[in-house]
C-alpha cells in the first residue's frame, strides 16, 4: 500500500464517519435538556464540533491523496505482512480466544480462564517451548491471583467450578 492510497481510504472513511456522527449518532445518542439557553453550553455542542473537525480532517486526507505525486509503497510492506491465509486465521483465532475469555471470566473464574487463554495463545503463536508454555500457563495466572487477591485485595472472579483460597 502507498501513502496516497492509504490517505484516500482513510479520508473517505473519516468523511463518511463524520456524516454518520452528524446525521445519526449525535442526534440519537447524545441527549440535551430542552431548557439549554446557549448552544455553547449544550451537551451537543462539543460532539458536533468534533464531528465537524473529523470531516475537515477527512477532506484534508482526500485532498492530500489527490494532490500528492508520491505513489511508492511503504518500505516495510513485504517484511511486515506475510502472505497466505494463515495469518488471517491466526487473527480470527485470537479474536475467538478474546470472546471466549469474556464468556469464561464470570463462569470459570479469572484464574482458570487465564490458564486456558495463555495455553491457547502460546500454541497459536507456534511456540517452540510447549512444555515451558504449559508450565507458565499454570504458574503465571496463579502468581497474579496470589498478588491481586491477597496483596492488592482485589476480588478476583472465582467462577462456579473450582474456588481458590
Amino acid at each position: 500500500m502507498s501513502e496516497k492510497s492509504l490517505h484516500l481510504r482513510l479520508g473517505i472513511f473519516m468523511s463518511l464517519f463524520a456524516l454518520f456522527l452528524v446525521l445519526y449518532a449525535i442526534p440519537s445518542f447524545v441527549f440535551a435538556p430542552s431548557n439549554v439557553g446557549k448552544i455553547v453550553l449544550s451537551p451537543l455542542f462539543w460532539p458536533y464540533v468534533l464531528a465537524g473537525l473529523a470531516g475537515i480532517v477527512g477532506l484534508a486526507l482526500i485532498a492530500n491523496a489527490l494532490t500528492s505525486a508520491q505513489d511508492t509503497p511503504f518500505e516495510d510492506e513485504e517484511t511486515e505482512h506475510p502472505e497466505g491465509a494463515a495469518p488471517w486465521m491466526r487473527l480470527g483465532a485470537l479474536a475467538v480466544i478474546m470472546v471466549l475469555v469474556m464468556f469464561g471470566l464470570p463462569r470459570l473464574g479469572m484464574v482458570w480462564t487465564a490458564m486456558l487463554a495463555f495455553a491457547a495463545c502460546a500454541f497459536l503463536f507456534r511456540t517452540r517451548h510447549p512444555i515451558l508454555a504449559l508450565v507458565c500457563a499454570v504458574v503465571v495466572p496463579l502468581l497474579l491471583y496470589a498478588f491481586f487477591a491477597h496483596v492488592a485485595g482485589v476480588a478476583i472472579p472465582q467462577g462456579n467450578l473450582v474456588r481458590l483460597p
Binding site: 492509504l6 490517505h7 481510504r9 482513510l10 473519516m14 456522527l21 445518542f29 447524545v30 441527549f31 440535551a32 446557549k38 455553547v40 453550553l41 451537551p43 462539543w46 460532539p47 468534533l50 464531528a51 473537525l53 473529523a54 480532517v57 484534508a60 486526507l61 494532490t67 505525486a69 517484511t79 511486515e80 506475510p82 495469518p87 491466526r90 487473527l91 485470537l94 478474546m98 475469555v101 469474556m102 471470566l105 464470570p106 479469572m110 487465564a114 487463554a117 495463555f118 495463545c121 502460546a122 497459536l124 503463536f125 507456534r126 517452540r128 517451548h129 515451558l132 508454555a133 507458565c136 500457563a137 503465571v140 495466572p141 497474579l144 491481586f148 492488592a152 485485595g153 482485589v154 478476583i156
Partner: protein, 496 residues
C-alpha cells in the same frame, strides 16, 4: 512552607526502605522492558501501573518513574547489540552503537551509553527541581480560560507524536477526543454515547483504553507474524568504556543533556528528536566528525544524553501544569489520578510532601540506574533469550488481571480488547496511537475548562482572550500551528 520544610516533608515520605525498593524495582523492570524489542518503555509503564493500585501513592509513582527511566536506558541495549531499538528514543544510538558492536566493542558502547544516560538523567532531574516549582507558582494565577488556552496549546503535542504523517496523527487525536465524550455530560448530567449501559456512564476507563492501545496490538501483531521478532545479539567484547572515553565525550554529554532538558520541557517533542538533535550537534562540533556513523563513541554518548535528558524534564509540565510532556507521562498522569492526586499547580500546595518526595526519589534514581544498568548490560543475553511467544501470552494475562483490578469490572476487560483491536487496525494503517491517548486525556479537560469559561462569562467567547496569559498561549498555539503547517507543506512532493 520553606524549602527546608518541604524537603523534610518529602524525606519523611520517602525516607524508608520500601520507597527506595520500589524505585529500584521500577528501574529493573524498566531496563528489562526497554531491552526487550517489541515490549518498549511505554508498554512496561502501562503494564506496571495496575500493580501500584494497592501501594502508597508515593511508592506507586516512584515505581512507575523507575520503569520510565529504566526503560529509556534499556532501549539502548538492543539498539547496540541487535540493531533494534527497544524504544523509539534509542534510534539514534544505533547509528554509532551498532557499528561499535560489530567491531567487537559492544561493552564499550554500552558502558558509554550508561554513563551518558546517568549524567543526563541527573542534569534533567536538577532542571525539574529548579523549574517545576517556579512554573507551578506562576500557574496558580490560571483560571478556566487560561487552562483552556494552555490545553489547546498542549494539543499541539500531537504534532510531535504523530510520526510520519501529521494528518494521520490528527485523525488519531480526533478519535481520542470523540471517545472521551462517552459518559455523562459534565454540566447537565445527560447521557452521551452511553447506549443506556450503566458501565459507560462514567466514561471509558482510562487504564483499559491505554493498555488496550499499547499492549494488546503487540499481542495481535504476534498472531499475525509470530517470527517477526527474531534477531541475533552481538557479544559484549573485551573493551570497556574508560574514564578517558567519558571525559572525551563530556562536552557532548552535557550539551545533549541540555538539549534533552529544553526539548523535554516542551510538551510533545519527546526523546527521539532530542537524541537526533544532540547527535547532529555532536557530529557538527566534533574533532572526529568523519567517524560519526561508523562507530564513534562520542556519537553514542550524545544520542544517549539527548534521550535521557528528556526523562526528568517531561515531568516539568506534568507536575507544574498537569499537562503530559509525552505519552509515558500521559500514562503516569493516570497513576496520579488512580491515587486521587491531580497533577498541576495546586499539587505544589496540597501535596508538597509528595512533590518533594518525588524529587528526592528522582535524584536517587540516577545512582540506582548506574547500578541496575551495569548489571543489565552483562545480563542482556538472558533477557534477549526470553521466548517472545511465551512472553506475549503472559502479557495478555497480565493485561486481563491489571485492567480488571482497576474497578473490579469485567466490562473494562472487554473495553481493553476492543481498544486493542482498534489499536491494531490503527497500527496496520500507520495511524499513531500516542495522539489518541493524549487527546483522550486532554479532551475532557479542554471541554470542562471551555464550558466553565462560558458559564463564567455568560457565553461570551471573549473571555478566552481575557489577559496576557491567554494571549501568550494563543500566540504559542498560533506559532506552533504555523510552524507545523510550514514544515508539512515543505515535506510534500508537488504534483508534477
Amino acid at each position: 512552607m520553606s524549602l527546608m520544610d518541604s524537603l523534610a516533608a518529602g524525606l519523611s515520605l520517602v525516607g524508608n526502605v520500601e520507597a527506595f525498593f520500589m524505585l529500584f524495582c521500577g528501574l529493573v523492570i524498566g531496563v528489562i522492558g526497554g531491552a526487550i524489542p517489541g515490549l518498549s518503555a511505554t508498554m512496561a509503564v502501562a503494564l506496571t501501573l495496575p500493580f501500584t493500585f494497592s501501594m502508597a501513592p508515593i511508592n506507586g509513582i516512584l515505581l512507575l518513574l523507575g520503569v520510565y527511566k529504566g526503560g529509556i536506558f534499556g532501549g539502548s541495549i538492543p539498539a547496540i547489540l541487535i540493531k533494534t531499538p527497544g524504544t523509539p528514543a534509542s534510534s539514534a544510538t544505533i547509528l554509532d552503537g551498532h557499528p561499535m558492536a560489530e567491531r567487537g566493542e559492544a561493552g564499550r558502547a554500552l558502558g558509554m551509553a550508561l554513563y551518558a544516560s546517568c549524567t543526563a538523567d541527573a542534569v534533567s532531574n536538577l532542571a525539574l527541581i529548579l523549574f517545576a516549582g517556579w512554573l507551578a507558582s506562576f500557574a496558580l494565577n490560571f483560571g478556566p480560560p487560561e487552562f483552556f488556552a494552555l490545553i489547546l496549546f498542549s494539543l499541539t503535542i500531537i504534532a510531535g507524536v504523530s510520526g510520519e504523517s501529521l494528518l494521520r496523527g490528527a485523525l488519531s487525536a480526533l478519535a481520542g477526543l470523540l471517545l472521551a465524550t462517552v459518559g455523562l455530560d459534565l454540566v447537565y448530567g445527560t447521557n452521551r454515547f452511553t447506549f443506556g449501559d450503566p458501565n459507560m456512564m462514567g466514561g471509558l476507563n482510562f487504564i483499559a483504553v491505554l493498555i488496550g492501545l499499547f499492549a494488546i496490538p503487540e499481542i495481535i501483531a504476534m498472531a499475525w507474524n509470530p517470527v517477526a521478532h527474531l534477531g541475533r545479539a552481538r557479544a559484549l567484547g573485551k573493551t570497556r568504556c574508560t574514564l578517558a572515553d567519558y571525559l572525551g565525550s563530556f562536552k557532548s554529554i552535557i550539551r545533549g543533556s541540555m538539549i534533552g532538558v529544553f526539548l523535554g520541557s516542551i510538551p510533545g517533542i519527546g526523546a527521539a528528536p532530542s537524541a537526533f538533535l544532540s547527535y547532529s550537534e555532536a557530529r557538527r562540533t566534533s574533532k572526529n566528525k568523519a567517524n560519526f556513523g561508523k562507530g564513534e563513541i562520542e556519537g553514542v554518548a550524545a544520542s544517549e544524553a539527548g534521550n535521557n535528558g528528556v526523562a526528568g524534564a517531561t515531568l516539568i509540565p506534568l507536575l507544574a501544569l498537569g499537562v503530559p510532556g509525552d505519552v509515558i507521562t500521559a500514562i503516569i498522569i493516570g497513576a496520579f489520578m488512580v491515587h486521587g492526586l491531580q497533577p498541576g499547580p495546586m499539587m505544589f500546595i496540597l501535596n508538597v510532601d509528595i512533590i518533594y518526595g518525588l524529587f528526592i526519589g528522582l535524584i536517587v534514581s540516577s545512582v540506582f540506574l548506574l547500578i541496575v544498568g551495569s548489571v543489565a548490560i552483562r545480563g542482556f543475553r538472558f533477557v534477549a533469550d526470553v521466548p517472545k511467544r511465551i512472553l506475549m501470552p503472559a502479557v495478555l494475562i497480565l493485561c486481563i488481571y491489571g485492567v480488571f483490578a482497576v474497578n473490579n469490572n469485567i466490562f473494562d476487560v472487554g473495553v481493553m480488547f476492543v481498544m486493542g483491536w482498534l489499536g491494531y487496525i490503527m497500527m496496520r494503517n500507520r495511524i499513531p496511537a500516542a495522539p489518541f491517548l493524549i487527546a483522550f486525556i486532554l479532551g475532557p479537560l479542554l471541554e470542562d475548562n471551555f464550558r466553565q469559561s462560558m458559564l463564567m462569562s455568560g457565553s461570551d467567547p471573549l473571555i478566552l482572550f481575557r489577559g496576557p496569559i491567554t494571549w501568550f498561549f494563543w500566540l504559542l498555539t498560533g506559532v506552533t500551528v504555523l510552524a507545523i503547517t510550514r514544515s508539512t507543506l515543505r515535506k510534500r512532493v508537488p504534483l508534477s
